[in-house]
């Protein structure tokens, strides 16, 4: 409690130049709204919800591929729950399910391997989305399927990595609230490199005390006017990260160009299965059609993710785009900026 009060006082009392702070983790976005942190910020501090929610940045065409696998290739889709309502160009997985597709919500990729064992006559496709935090468990599921001879299991990948995304985003904020869980895997090297390029930020945890402390550190360090980096989540994030997790990712996956919903294609910002594991790649195994789907052109998600506009400034927000029938990236999951705005603020 004392930590919260002390950090709150520092943040509330900030009287320096205007600060734009971008969080790039969906869980941070959600917790910041849930705790009401934006409501205690002075006018000269602005929080921008960057592209940190893996569901939100998953492009339309990926959902189209999953729907095709389910409805036309008769595959069982195993997925994290948030993806079920993400709109594709024509329909979401929830829509496909009401037309007879089998879509199972799982909490861990290895659950999908179990489903594959129980359904030997069907292909079971796990939708592998997420950042460095979730990729290792997808890789472990593939290794388990390989070891156990489960050959009706595959991944449909849309995994993303942060380093190259920062290059696209660095002009949009004065400091980043780095995603603690991602840095727990990747370590602190990327943050140190960014600091040397003039980009500031702190690694933040997820409790009220951790988030407020991270913001207080940004506020204090900003006064000096020099690029800074601080690990404010040392109980979880070590400088070297998790070499074991990094090794598993590297063994099975290789970097690829990736489309981010709202931001477009960022070179080298995705991960795909290496050729040696092609037999676990749903895209190749089921010969899925190339991704061509695009979202609604009126949607301003890209601008929102870069902080160029706020959700209520988008013409679709709250009118035809709501959490129940999301149109754009940021309304899709509870961790998206538009969704959090819509749910936690007094939108009338």
């Amino acid at each position: 409690m004392e930590t919260i009060e002390r950090a709150k006082k520092i943040v509330e009392g900030y009287d320096g130049r205007p600060l734009r702070i971008m969080e790039v983790c969906g869980t941070h976005t959600h917790e910041i709204f849930r705790l009401g942190i934006r409501r205690i910020l002075p006018d000269n501090i602005r929080l921008i919800s960057g592209p940190g929610c893996p569901v939100c940045v998953t492009p339309c065409g990926f959902i189209d591929e999953a729907v095709e696998a389910a409805l036309e290739k008769n595959a069982i889709i195993a997925t994290f729950g948030d993806l079920v309502r993400v709109p594709g160009s024509e329909k979401s997985l929830a829509g496909a399910r009401s037309e007879g597709a089998e879509v199972r919500v799982v909490y861990a990729p290895s659950d999908a391997v179990d489903i594959a064992r129980e359904n030997p006559d069907r292909e079971v496709v796990f939708l592998s989305v997420g950042f460095e935090t979730t990729v290792p468990s997808s890789c472990l599921a593939v290794l388990r399927a390989e070891a156990e001879g489960v050959d009706n299991f595959s991944l449909l990948t849309a995994n993303k990595t942060m380093p190259n995304a920062y290059e696209v985003l660095k002009g949009s904020a004065d400091a980043f609230l780095y995603p603690g869980h991602v840095n727990a895997i990747t370590g602190t090297a990327v943050c140190e490199r960014l600091q040397s390029e003039g980009v500031s930020g702190v690694i933040a945890g997820f409790t009220a005390a951790e988030l407020l402390t991270a913001l207080a550190v940004i506020v204090e360090k900003s006064r000096a006017g020099k690029p800074f980096f601080e690990n404010c989540y040392p109980r979880v994030v070590r400088p070297e990260g998790s070499p074991k997790a990094i090794a598993i990712i590297d063994r099975l996956m290789e970097p690829c160009d990736a489309e981010w919903r709202g931001l477009g294609v960022i070179p080298g910002s995705g991960l795909a299965l290496r050729d040696a594991y092609a037999r676990f790649d749903a895209r190749k195994k089921l010969a899925l059609s190339p991704q061509t789907g695009t979202g609604n052109p009126a949607c301003r998600c890209g601008d929102i993710l870069r902080g160029d506009c706020t959700p209520p400034e988008c013409p679709l927000y709250g009118r035809i785009c709501t959490p129940l029938s999301p149109v754009g990236a940021c309304m899709v999951s509870g961790e998206g900026a538009c969704s959090a705005y819509y749910q936690y603020t007094d939108r009338g």
Binding site: H30, R39, A94, V105, L324, G334, T345
Partner: protein, 334 residues
């Protein structure tokens, strides 16, 4: 409205309401129907509460109960929320071909035991067997009728600014238990459903004071959905203090891991009560003396400001909106 029924249409949120309004009420609406847990019917000089509920819980048994116990508690509690002493019930049981009798009997035994505890008698029943795969093991529908307590006037439309908001126990335990029993998350936690018949709990409160404005059971959709429903029915707002909401530590842990809001997880033995502030301490004292409501607490108050909205004071002292209910219960990722 979607072209096909989706699971969210059964989740108790806005899509359920849309389905009821656009399909069911269109053909079935009558003056006797209200948005409360049970209808209040005047037959001759007698005022009776009347309600029905279907149970399809999967799995059909879970720590703290089974579908049989649940089917009695659900209907007994709906009647109790109107201040009605449950008198008679009926049940309609649909069983899947191949279901073991040895599994059926404990379900029916629990129905009988729970009914006796609540003081309600089964007056009629129906049994159907559906072919294999045509129903998921066992579905039960119960209907109940109860006698209104003279002097009690309970309705979701009765909340007044200044009233205290009380929960009779910790929230979200049933929903959490069933989620874990489905074993989809690979999480193990020691959580037991709160499933319980609550007529005697309500009776004890009404014996102490009839000055209670609203009682609702926080089943599907949880306490959060109930608060939004009352806010809309009564045209009031709520100011809820996060720190005062009782949540079992294991439930809190599971919610943290899965990104769930405990206020939106179902309770089957916890009620939301709204009463004038001066009655609140007495009601909580009575509740804490009863077996199923030892964790009762005042969690906030009714406000004239923010009509139709539920505002939460968070642990950092900021006020924010409780997200509106809606949609399927989904865990979030990463």
């Amino acid at each position: 409205m979607e072209q096909y029924i989706q699971l969210a249409h059964g989740a108790g949120g806005s899509q359920t309401n849309e389905l009821i309004e656009t399909v069911f009420k269109k053909h079935l609406a009558s003056p006797a129907m209200t948005a409360d847990d049970a209808a209040v019917l005047t037959i001759g000089a007698e005022k009776l509460a009347f309600t029905t509920d279907g149970f399809i819980v999967s799995p059909y048994k879970f720590p703290g109960g089974n579908i049989g116990k649940l089917s009695v508690c659900g209907t007994v509690n709906d009647l109790a929320c109107m201040g009605a002493k449950p008198l008679y019930m009926t049940c309609a049981v649909v069983i899947e071909e191949g279901f073991p009798v040895a599994e059926l009997e404990p379900i029916v035994e629990a129905m009988g035991r729970t009914a006796r505890e609540a003081g309600v008698q089964f007056a009629a029943g129906d049994t159907k067997v559906a072919g294999k795969g045509q129903v998921d093991k066992i579905f039960i529908t119960t209907t109940g009728i109860g006698q209104l307590t003279p002097g009690a006037d309970l309705s979701g439309a009765n909340a007044k600014p200044g009233d205290a908001v009380i929960v009779t126990g910790d929230v979200g335990r049933h929903g959490c238990t069933v989620l874990l029993e489905r074993n989809e998350f690979g999480i193990e936690a020691d959580v037991k459903s709160d499933c319980a018949p609550l007529w005697h709990t309500v009776e004890a409160v009404l014996n102490r004071t009839k000055n209670v404005h609203v009682i609702r059971d926080a089943t599907r959709g949880g306490a959060g959905t109930v608060l939004y429903e009352i806010a809309s029915q009564s045209g009031v707002g709520f100011d809820i203090e996060r720190a005062r909401i009782p949540v079992d530590p294991a439930v809190r842990g599971v919610c943290g891991m899965l990104g769930l809001e405990p206020l939106y997880l179902a309770c089957e033995g916890t009620l939301v009560m709204i009463a004038p502030a001066e009655e609140a301490d007495g009601i909580v004292e009575t509740l804490r003396s009863m077996p199923y409501s030892a964790n009762a607490a005042v969690i906030g108050r009714v406000t004239a400001e923010n009509p139709g909205k539920v505002v939460v004071s968070t642990e950092i002292g900021a006020k924010t909106m409780l997200p509106r209910p809606g949609g399927e219960l989904l865990p979030r990722i990463c």
